[in-house]
Amino acid sequence: MLKLITEVFDWNHLDAYDADIIVIGSREFGMYAPTNLTQEELFQAVIKVKEHQRLVGVRIDRIMQECDMESLISFLAISQTYPIDYYFFSDMSVLGFFATHPTSVQLVFNAKTLNCSPQDAAYYQKRGIDVVVSHELPLDDVKNIVSNGNVGIEGFSHSLIFYSNRKLISSFYDKYQITPLHTYGTEYHIQEVNTKMWLYAVENQHGTTLYNDKTYAIYRELVDLSAAKYFIIQPHFMDEAALIKTLAIYRKTIMDGPTPEGYHELSTLHPNLESGFLYRQPLILEAGQYEKN
């Protein structure tokens, strides 16, 4: 059965989150999320999740630099003393660490843009590592990758479409000598001038991330993706109440199958749903064609 995964805004409300796996993002080693915790908070939360009889994952999915190694190694070593069930990672340093520190914890590779084929997914699966497929794929490709087993889909989230180590918003303020409005984690919008497309923009101490302002939602396609192992609902750009309702909708869908009423409920709650690339192929042009385009 597909396992529902999400993150938690308010730990006093943990029981209201109808998820099979609670993931906790690390503020130091995780990509931006409004739910990320400090190391101390994270380990306390791990214990709390286990006390509530749930599975718990730790998300350490930032690209790690050499200057992060000492603290990452220390963090991973300490984390092995806690009852963690999953590590969600995107940097091979995590795999490198566990190559020399064997663990029974399930590793899940989620590098967002890099898992686009059954062949690449198989590399990890052969090593006992689960993978999460990329967003920018047509449904048939997602089905093919999922059919290999041990694959997750990040089925409800704002697609992460740009991940930089640069502090682009602070730089913009500096460039034009504007008094800063923001602190790290402030959610901005940017709009591309010609296409008029809106994106979310967030900066933190690790750089800047941009997200599609529409919500990528796999819903009726769940019928074809029953072989998937995980269904991830990201908490970005919504409040706790919406997240808890979204979990309930997907829980019902996983149990009973997708329905028009369920989709209506979801789209009423989130008016900006999109199917991403599920039903469209990106242009793949031959050499020379770009100049004419």
């Binding site: 690209i63 790690m64 630099q65 050499e66 200057c67 992060d68 190694m69 190694i73 091979m92 340093s93 795999l95 660490f97 190559a99 967002k112 843009t113 890099l114 686009c116 084929s117 059954p118 062949q119 690449d120 198989a122 590399y123 920018e136 490709d141 990758i145 697609s159 479409i161 991940y163 930089s164 180590n165 640069r166 502090k167 682009l168 918003i169 730089s171 913009f172 460039k175 034009y176 504007i178 923001h182 901005y188 919008h189 940017i190 709009q191 591309e192 001038v193 010609n194 296409t195 497309m197 941009l210 469209r280 990106p282 793949i284 042009l285 031959e286 050499a287 020379g288 770009y290 100049e291």
Partner: protein, 396 residues
């Protein structure tokens, strides 16, 4: 001190040969499959064979990029392609796919596998993991500074390649889907539309922060001042970006870095100003030092700044007649018959000459060189050689 490799880009055979003539130790190229930079008139199979043969006669190496993030249908013909590359003498593939890495190591173990910067590898645990898998070299993420590079070098023995010049993604490489979402072009399969260079506006709670466009793109990288330390710390290869750049750009940039590397490695003093002046003669965007020296400030980002070459490329030497002191040139850009030209080449320092006459192949005197690729003759009172290049310094 081990000799550090100067690795140059090439989008076609002519550029590849120019890169090697002007001092590259190795050249990276893309075939028509599996490679990013779809606009870079990628190499046919026969071109790759010829490239390897040419490189072999000049003690240079050829690396072939297989750096797309492949989808299922992209794997067709993988084995045949890998076998062919090995057969014709390709030294290494550069890939960002773990399954291509694994397949290549199993099928043609003598052909090296280098991992692309598309994987944004930036720490020794990742390097060591991949080395255990059989990878020979890591093309490191461009987000590392010299201090981190030094620490990383100390902590791994896998080959390390560092970008030192050219365009840079503003994102971590391979982690930008702007083109996919804005214009439906798959950035990680060669379709990058450089959407990072477009104009955006920044809002907070629907309020425009400033009327000036919010920019995402970075300035180009110029790592000249980092070179001595990169050599000292034992980096294996220094990479120039730009498979889509011109022959002139490649010749100018490769030659400048060749001079710098040779001087550093031989312990000779280096006039850094001259290196910068030389690089400025090529068609670059504005420079920054990227992450090499310090974290980029707004000065490392590309807002409205532009840059034009300080010198214009006007011709290529085809031949020179010692008896008449006349050079035969192929025209590349307009220049007048009264002009100061600068000749330079792999074995020719920048040398100025004033010209007062231009002739065409029929012996007609011309008031200007107007036609691209036209064969022309000018007086040059010193030896010049085929493939030397000519810049216009000033019209007189």
């Amino acid at each position: 001190m081990k000799k550090i490799e100067l690795l140059a880009p090439a989008g076609n055979l002519d550029k590849l040969k120019m890169a090697i003539r002007y001092g590259a130790d190795a050249v990276y190229i893309g075939g028509k499959s599996f490679s990013l930079r779809a606009r870079a008139s990628n190499f046919s199979l026969e071109d790759i064979r010829e490239a390897c043969a040419f490189a072999a006669t000049h003690q240079a190496k050829i690396y072939v990029t297989m750096n797309i993030v492949p989808h299922q249908e992209d794997f067709t013909g993988l084995d045949e392609y890998l076998l062919y590359l090995h057969e014709v003498g390709v030294r290494a593939i550069i890939t960002s796919s773990v399954s291509i890495m694994e397949r290549s190591l199993a099928l043609v173990p003598k052909m090296e596998v280098h991992l692309s910067t598309q994987l944004s590898i930036a720490n020794h645990l990742s390097c060591n993991y991949y080395q255990e898998q059989g990878v020979s070299r890591i093309v490191l993420a461009r987000e590392l500074d010299l201090s981190q590079l030094h620490s990383l070098r100390q902590a791994t023995s896998v080959g390390l390649e560092v970008f030192i010049h050219g365009g840079m993604c503003s994102s971590y490489s391979g982690r930008c889907m702007l083109s996919n979402h804005l214009v439906n072009r798959d950035a990680n399969r060669g379709g990058c539309a450089h959407s990072c260079r477009w104009d955006y506006h920044l809002y907070h709670h629907q309020q425009l922060i400033h009327e000036a466009p919010f920019k995402i793109a970075s300035k180009d990288l110029c790592g000249v001042e980092a070179i001595p330390q990169l050599i000292e710390m034992g980096i294996d290869s220094l990479k120039i970006e730009g498979r889509m750049k011109s022959e002139y750009y490649i010749a100018t940039v490769v030659r400048a870095y060749r001079k710098l590397l040779d001087a550093c490695q031989e312990g000779r003093p280096v006039a850094m100003d001259e290196i910068y002046q030389e690089l400025a003669k090529a068609e670059n965007r504005p420079f920054s030092t990227g992450f090499l020296i310090h974290e980029p400030t707004h000065e490392g980002h590309l807002y409205a700044e532009t840059s034009t070459p300080t010198k214009e490329f006007v011709g290529m030497v085809l031949d020179w007649d010692e008896a008449t002191q006349v050079a035969k040139l192929e025209q590349r850009n307009h220049f007048p018959c009264e002009a100061q030209l600068e000749f330079f080449g792999p074995h020719l320092d920048n040398t100025l000459v004033s010209i007062h006459e231009i002739w065409d192949q029929e012996g007609n005197q011309l008031d200007a060189a107007r036609h691209p690729k036209q064969v022309l003759f000018v007086r040059v009172p010193f030896k010049v050689s085929p493939y030397d290049m000519v810049r216009l310094v000033k019209a007189e």
